[in-house]
């Protein structure tokens, strides 16, 4: 993990913590994340969740998180996108994002060969966002959840996670998705323009504590994945992060507090068996509402 520069207009908390099931069964934490500031405007955040069935997925998720962050950084350094007017279109971003993710995959192939790992043993998901005060550029493979907020008390889903027939099925960067059709189907990307005040990325280990993902509807007698960020979870933590910023806490101090929170700070986190990663980034001050807009 790389420390955040305090001159940034954002305050960020990011951590990956091992799940109870992994502790009980002596399995390492297979989640990893990466985050750093690229320049005065842009930062990058990545969450990778290693496949439970892949032997070295903790190594794969670490490699993919770091390399994805660097490949996305390279896009910003090359393309700039310095203000709201220059933010890319969906098509422009998708082209750049797919190229970057493909480079990460190719690096992973080389890494596997050099270290003598079976490629599929490094399986992990990828959820990454380049963020600025005027927009978010997201690309992802597999599951996890992501959300952003442009207005107080309003949080919207940023991605739709890929799920198979069974609850534990998804796709990974190592999966057989690298065909023209597979890339279109399994790699998601999007651009969100606007005055972003906060956003969050999570691995699936945090989703039950932060999103409405399996809700029973009495009227239809059906269960539904609403993919709806839970405002009552996110807003208090926006305030918490801003308070830490005011108190001039270091990135390491913030992350340590965040790690403790993700471990047992809510009932859902405390009882979760899966590894948990959550990145929450918040503007240090609430943006003023432009009534003329």
């Amino acid at each position: 993990m790389t420390a955040q520069n305090n001159k940034s207009k954002w305050v960020v908390a990011y951590a990956s913590v091992i799940g109870n099931g992994h502790i009980q069964n002596n399995i390492p934490c297979q989640d990893n994340c990466a985050h750093f500031r690229i320049n005065d405007t842009w930062s990058v955040a990545v969450v990778c969740d290693g496949a439970g069935s892949a032997k070295f997925s903790h190594i794969g998720s670490d490699f993919v998180a770091r390399n994805t962050a660097h490949c996305l950084q390279e896009i910003i350094e090359r393309r700039k996108w310095a203000d709201a007017n220059s933010i890319p279109t969906e098509e422009e971003w998708r082209e750049e994002a797919l190229r970057a993710i493909q480079i990460v995959m190719q690096r992973l192939v080389v890494f596997a060969r050099e270290k003598e790992y079976t490629f599929s043993d490094l399986a992990c998901t990828v959820l990454s966002t380049l963020y600025s005060p005027f927009g978010l550029l997201t690309v992802h493979i597999g599951d996890g959840r992501a959300t952003y907020s442009v207005e107080l008390n309003e949080w919207l889903a940023l991605i739709t996670p890929f799920r198979g027939n069974e609850a534990n099925e998804t796709v990974f960067i190592t999966s057989g998705i690298w065909t023209e059709e597979g890339v279109q189907k399994f790699i998601g990307s999007n651009v969100k323009k606007g005055n972003i005040r906060a956003f969050a990325l999570t691995s699936d280990g945090c989703e039950k504590g932060t999103f409405e993902v399996n809700i029973y509807d009495e009227a239809t007698q059906m269960f539904q994945d609403l993919n709806k960020p839970f405002t009552k979870f996110f807003e208090p933590n926006v305030l918490g992060l801003r308070q830490l910023y005011k108190e001039q806490k270091t990135q390491e101090e913030i992350n340590e507090l965040w790690k403790t929170f993700l471990t047992d700070g809510t009932k859902a986190f405390k009882h979760e068996i899966d590894d948990k990663t959550l990145i929450l980034a918040v503007l240090t001050e609430e943006p003023e509402i432009d009534f003329q807009a």
């Binding site: 439970g52 069935s53 609850a167 993902v213 029973y216 933590n237 918490g240 809510t266 068996i273």
Partner: protein, 222 residues
Amino acid sequence: MSYFQGETPYNYEQKCLCILVLDASGSMDGEPIRELNRGLQEFYAAVEEDLIAANRLEVCIVTFGSDIKTIQEPSLISGFDMPNLSANGSTRLVDAVRKAMIRTEERKQWYKETGQPYYRPIMVLITDGEPDKDQDVTGISKEISEAVDAKKFTFFGLGVKGYNHEVMKQICPPSAQPLPLSGYKFSEFFKWLSNSIGIITKSKEGESVELPPVSDWAQMKF
């Protein structure tokens, strides 16, 4: 001072069906059925203690002797008390497995119809004997193998003292050979099963899953 806090949304757990196909034929009478009952009670207690498993695991029990009985329809642990088995009759093993396969598909269909995400069901066959002569071992063997290959369920076959290893080997899919139980260590087996369910429900791909070692309860040399 706590900087971070927040309310938790109310989400239901994803379901995992565990269907136990248990030999309650006459040969299980006495110590075997007593120990099996003890193991079942301990399995129930272990799941009940685990908040996630208690809300995730649905248990279904099919027993076989001369009759096939679904003595417990799929239910969370909170929905039933573990029944006490008694042993008598012959060994209609194949018919019981076939019934369990139907119940499994029915439950999966219900999950789908009601929009519930689910993990791959787990079927556990426990027997101390061999099927009655008129039972279609070849047929069920093919059906299980095809179903496991099609990822319809995960299958475990557990042999209790006196079981016919060759027949069980034929019934079990090549990817999951029968596991002989050491003595009547059902308690250890069910402890292993509850741990394994935790791992299975965490795994993400259809690839093989590394389960905990079986040395506590299995007799590894045939």
